[in-house]
Amino acid sequence: MKLLNEKSKEGSSSFNISELDIQTNIPENLKRIDLNIPELSEVEIIRHYTNLSKYNFGVDNGPYPLGSCTMKYNPKINEVAAKIPEFNIHPLSQHNKGTLEIIHQLQQYLCEITGMHAFSTQPAAGAHGESTGIMIMKAWFQKLGERRTKVIIPDSCHGTNPASVSLCGFEPLHVKSSSSGGIDLDDLRQNMGKDIVGIMITNPNTLGIFDENILKITKIIHDYGGLCYLDGANMNPMLGVVKPGDFGIDIVHLNLHKTFSTPHGGGGPGSGPVGVKKELEPFLPNPRIIKKNEKLGFEQSKDSIGKVHSFYGNFGILLRAYSYIRSIGASGLRNIAENAVLNANYMKEKLKEHYHLHYDRICQHEFVIDDSLMPDGVTTNDIAKRLMDFGFHPPTIYFPLIIKGAMLIEPTETESKENLDAFIEAMKVIKEEAESDPEKLTKAPLKAPIGRIDTVHAARKPKLTWHST
């Protein structure tokens, strides 16, 4: 489709503004001479984006089993809630009692769900929550007067974890997975020492496995005075079933857009609240929103890591998450976990008849298969592209890195058995096509709005903006 710039026509924009008859105070030498924003009439703008949207695939279009991203259905009521005009207030307005109530109540719910003592909703996304959490670890040891430098990260971690650690001046120390998919306890023990800040663990991990040794792991860390950080991106299968606080977690971030179902927006906005145990509460970002003597307000802590957001985080997302939790209630939360896990295990059992399953055991919300049983020349990437032709968004591919040609599949609780069966059937057909007609795969997608994209070409001589030719 043509670009906005290519459709632009001088003089066609007609958004009416009546200026006042007042001279500007801006000196000539600081003024802009011309402004080349594309100009389109309203009808052409709406058509541009309406037709562009047809080239996109969202959860509203079909199943989106993108592993570790929890692409569940986003209820429309949350969008209605998020548009209540009274909530659209300035962050420094004093008339904020309703807004503070929502944030405070949400913090309470998140504490109850995770078993933590206090939450800050400032971080704007999961990775932002991660760095906030690591900053808290850093501040904790500074307060203790200890200089520790290394953070243990299992090799089944999320991609953001090592980067978050290094952002805070720490060194990531990678620990291997065991043959059953959990953390290799021996490797962990060998790496322990007084320079260990703690562990940054994803549990269930990115293989979809709940580490059965979790209590041992957190104990090992705690025995060395370290802190246990949970990457809560995979909270979905634990809702109402188990609390991270109960298995020794000191700090956790949640991805509200994943677990609490706010629309992912083509890449955000998300929200990554961080929860901590009682001892760590003073280190949470400033200001905190708290209730004292039945009055809601802000509080600053001198031990805080400081502010991590221009204001108080992504309130628009918090409101949606609040709305979601209230819609479904305690029983709904437990239902999510049970159904997410049921759906994943069902798919895993059915798919392992056709694809190689590295860890053949019970999984939580997601699981990994790979392309090792595929005929030569057919790769995970081909399978992913071909899945598009069957009306599915592909799973996460080539991740986790520890499994070659991985496909990380997370169906989520909102998909029906019918959809799971259709996906399984598609995967079966693709396997057959790989044998009988591999070109169908290597040239896939055949039915998408555009053919397979050449990403190498994109990177070779990057063209990142429109230029008139």
Partner: protein, 429 residues
């Protein structure tokens, strides 16, 4: 409500196919002692109408009122086109466009956004968004220390104090030293570059004043110039930063089509010179072709990113503010060149209000300098109490003790002349 598509019957069939009796058999990796025996202490489910009733009751505890608050978050009108586009499920319920063949909508929108940001700033490269103005600035600060190999950064005292707090947080974590640059008459004063990687200047600055950046490059030949803008609507009538040879432009883009929402989600804008294309944090969409040679778009230069480079990545950012970016694109193209008119209207309203206030005994304009849509006034205490029901501006004492009784007042198209006149009446009556 629940949002589960399976029925009891489906679940029974699936359990049977898996070969277990009960769904809890699938949780047996979890130590039994950890499994919750009681429901969470969270209230029962509500129907949609019950939920909305509750939310409306809570929302009414906020009061909507006449307000002249700005200082990093602005009450601008959001054209009707914006929500019409961003509410489309194809956009809002997709994720990061990892699979370009079914994400051309998002990708082209990013590419167009990048193009418009580069046009507005004059820079070469824009990414697909950061979390907000403050964190985008903090990441730029870190970036500058990496480029220059120096762990010290100069920061103007006229930078939004909340942003300065965020910079300090990140500086502590990354072990960077921040040196503040004084202000004089509300503008950033002279500075020494020794040992520093960069200088960070806000423009229009926190007081709404337009910094004169002519010649700043000469003063900062050996360091990076980083700008921060909280009110990018000003860009529509101000000379683009590229003309001052700025290296990194950051901004809070909330003004472009995103609601105030108590300060979030915002839209972190970042744009850099071509030199830094491989250092810029976050996603980039690039033009490419498909297998048939047809133009298409894809995320590119991903080797900068955390999922490839892990701990060596330029940033840990993954999820950004995609939908806010889309809103900004629709906003910008809806106004088109009329964005200049809108900016002028904002400027005119602020000038009008400042002039009128300045004529009132007991109210004084503090800085006699060109400003965009914000300005600082000192208000006598008796007048303050007279208009205590109006949020006349952000009180500055807390951040600048010498600005006692001073307020940062902001005018936009949402505070039209009639509103301003009404407030003036209340003050003078």
């Amino acid at each position: 409500m629940d949002y589960i598509s399976n029925t009891d019957n489906d679940r029974a069939l699936m359990l049977k196919d898996i070969g277990v009796q009960d769904v809890m058999d699938l949780f047996k990796d979890i130590p039994d002692s950890l499994i919750l025996r009681n429901p969470l202490r969270i209230p029962d489910q509500l129907s949609e109408f019950e939920l909305l009733r509750e939310l409306e009751n809570i929302s009414k505890k906020n009061r909507r009122h006449v307000s002249f608050l700005g200082g990093g978050n602005y009450n601008h009108y959001i054209p009707s086109t914006v929500n019409a586009v961003t509410s489309r499920g194809e956009f809002s319920t997709a994720y990061t466009p990892y699979q370009p063949e079914i994400s051309q909508g998002t990708l082209q929108a990013i590419f167009e956004y990048q193009s418009m940001i580069c046009e507005l700033t004059g820079m070469d490269v824009s990414n697909a968004s950061m979390y907000d103005g403050a964190t985008g600035l903090a990441e730029s600060m870190i970036l500058s220390t990496r480029i220059k190999g120096k762990k010290q950064v100069l920061v103007s005292h006229a930078l939004n104090p909340l942003y300065r707090e965020v910079l300090e947080t990140y500086a502590r974590a990354s072990e960077i030293r921040i040196v503040e640059v004084d202000i004089k008459d509300g503008l950033t004063s002279d500075f020494k570059t020794d040992g520093s990687a960069a200088i960070i200047i806000q423009n229009p600055n926190f007081f709404g004043l337009i910094e004169n950046l002519d010649g700043i490059r000469k003063k900062a030949e050996d360091i990076l110039l980083i700008t921060s803008t909280t009110e990018p609507l000003s860009w529509a009538i101000l000379k683009p930063f590229s003309e001052y040879d700025v290296d990194i432009v950051t901004a809070e883009g909330q003004s472009f089509g995103n609601p105030m929402n108590f300060g979030g989600p915002g839209l972190g804008i970042i744009a850099v010179k071509q030199d830094y294309v491989r250092q810029i944090p976050g996603r980039l969409a690039g033009e490419t072709v498909d297998i048939h040679g047809k133009r298409g778009f894809a995320l590119t230069l991903c080797t900068r990113e955390q999922h490839i480079r892990r701990e060596k990545a330029t940033s840990n950012i993954c999820t950004n503010e995609g939908l806010c970016m889309l809103a900004a694109s629709v906003y910008l193209v809806t106004y088109g060149k009329n964005l200049g008119k809108l900016a002028r209207l904002n400027n005119q309203l602020a000038i009008y209000f400042a002039d009128k206030l300045n004529q009132i005994e007991g109210v004084d304009l503090v800085f006699d300098k060109p400003f965009f849509n914000e300005f600082v006034v000192r208000i006598r205490k008796d007048i303050q109490s007279k208009i205590s029901h109006i949020e006349i501006g952000i009180s500055l004492e807390k951040y600048y003790p010498d600005l006692e009784n001073c307020y940062l007042v902001c005018c936009t198209e949402m505070t039209p002349k009639e509103y301003i006149d009404r407030v003036l009446d209340e003050i003078t009556q």
